[in-house]
């Protein structure tokens, strides 16, 4: 199997290397995450340099192109991630809402007392009753 070093492959490999170097400095304390990332990047880099691997795997499972073999599961995973992220964001929004709402009644003020809160009659002197 021969490596296929095209301009696109060089750009992609450069991008992978830059991302890895960037993460190496920002995630240096999380060695397990760095290791996982190294494995994922190594697999990705191998598929870029040796597209024949993806091609043979694709043919093995009845998919026409090697790139589709990589893309199909990737798209499924990304859509799932997107839905889960939106769901998490909605849950966070609900929590924030309840938190803000829990504070609101606690700090609610009777600015002008209605009749039922001012001994059965409206009173002009009952403003700013804090409850």
């Amino acid at each position: 199997m021969r490596p296929e070093i095209t301009p696109a492959a060089l750009i992609l490999l450069g991008l992978l290397a830059a991302l890895f170097l960037h993460d190496l400095t920002s995630l240096e304390k999380n060695r397990r995450l760095m290791l996982l990332q190294l494995v994922v990047f190594a697999v990705g880099g191998s598929l870029i340099v040796y597209p024949e691997i993806a091609r043979r795997l694709a043919h093995g499972v009845g998919i026409g192109r090697g790139v589709d073999f990589v893309l199909y599961p990737l798209v499924i995973w990304l859509v799932r991630e997107s839905l889960l992220t939106r769901r998490r964001r909605l849950e966070e929004e609900e929590k924030t809402t309840e938190l803000v709402r829990a504070l609101a009644p606690a700090e609610a003020r009777v600015v002008v007392a209605p009749a039922h809160l001012s001994g059965g009659q409206s009173s002009g002197s009952s403003a700013s009753t804090t409850t």
Partner: protein
């Protein structure tokens, strides 16, 4: 005949300029109603100053002011107002006779609040304002948008309403308990229609439509719903339907 006890649920976001006039209009309604406004400042900047509500004829309308520390949206503010109105610390013994939702920007008239509350006092559980039957200056672009909303509500909720997205509506004590709002932003209108449709089927709520007038101004049109807002509502509804827990 005793005065109808009305809780006005009023969300407000940066409405300081028009808020005083809106509350003053309620104060001018006379002795036929005992009104308490549950005003929720939805994170306005600057916050609503309680002193601005201490205007003329202040005895006639009670005002309870609560504030969201951050802006959550009209639906969230309405839900907070609903909970405050049901809170025994602020409600009269036995609760209010009618709960009316009203915008703070001066679009809605005080007399229509009274008309909706009277419909509830006459036996309806839900009274929905119909701006097309009243004397409203609805711009043609808004008329088209509301027409589309009416069709959408018909398909989504099964309710055949003349005016599906009118913020002026009233609920009786039996209905208000079922009107819990979970959509923070403008999609709450569809959520309420859905809750009305469900409650009508389950609890046999009596729903009526009452002609009201909505006053459109340049300011209210600038702040109101637009076509892009309608898309945002649709996205909110779809997201809520599929992604939220429906407990």
């Amino acid at each position: 005949m005793p005065a109808v006890r009305i809780a006005v649920l009023m969300p407000a976001f940066n409405e300081a300029g028009r808020l005083t006039a809106t509350v003053d209009e309620l104060r001018s309604l006379g002795a036929g109603a005992a009104i308490t406004v549950f005003l929720v400042d939805d994170g306005s900047d600057p916050p609503i100053d309680a002193k601005t509500l201490d205007g003329r004829d202040r005895d006639k309308v009670g005002v309870v002011l609560a504030r969201h520390a951050v802006n959550l949206g009209q639906g969230a503010a309405l839900e907070t107002a609903r909970r405050l109105a049901l809170d025994p610390r602020f409600a009269p013994p036995g609760g209010f006779d009618a709960y009316v939702t009203m915008d703070a920007d001066g679009q809605h008239r005080g007399v229509d609040v009274l008309a909706l509350a009277e419909a509830i006092a006459s036996g309806a559980d839900v009274a929905l304002g119909d701006r097309f039957a009243g004397d409203s200056n609805v711009p043609s672009s808004r008329r088209a948008l509301l027409g589309a909303a009416r069709v959408f509500e018909r398909v989504a909720t099964g309710e055949r309403l003349s005016d599906a997205h009118n913020g002026l509506r009233a609920f009786g004590p039996r209905a208000i308990a079922a009107m819990r709002i979970r959509h923070n932003r403008m999609a709450h209108a569809t959520e309420l229609t859905h809750a009305i449709a469900r409650s009508r089927g389950e609890a046999g709520l009596h729903v009526v439509e009452v002609p009201v007038s909505v006053r459109y101004t340049e300011a209210s049109l600038a702040k109101g719903q637009s076509a892009s807002g309608a898309v945002a509502i649709l996205v909110d509804l779809v997201q809520g339907f599929f992604l939220k827990d429906h407990r």
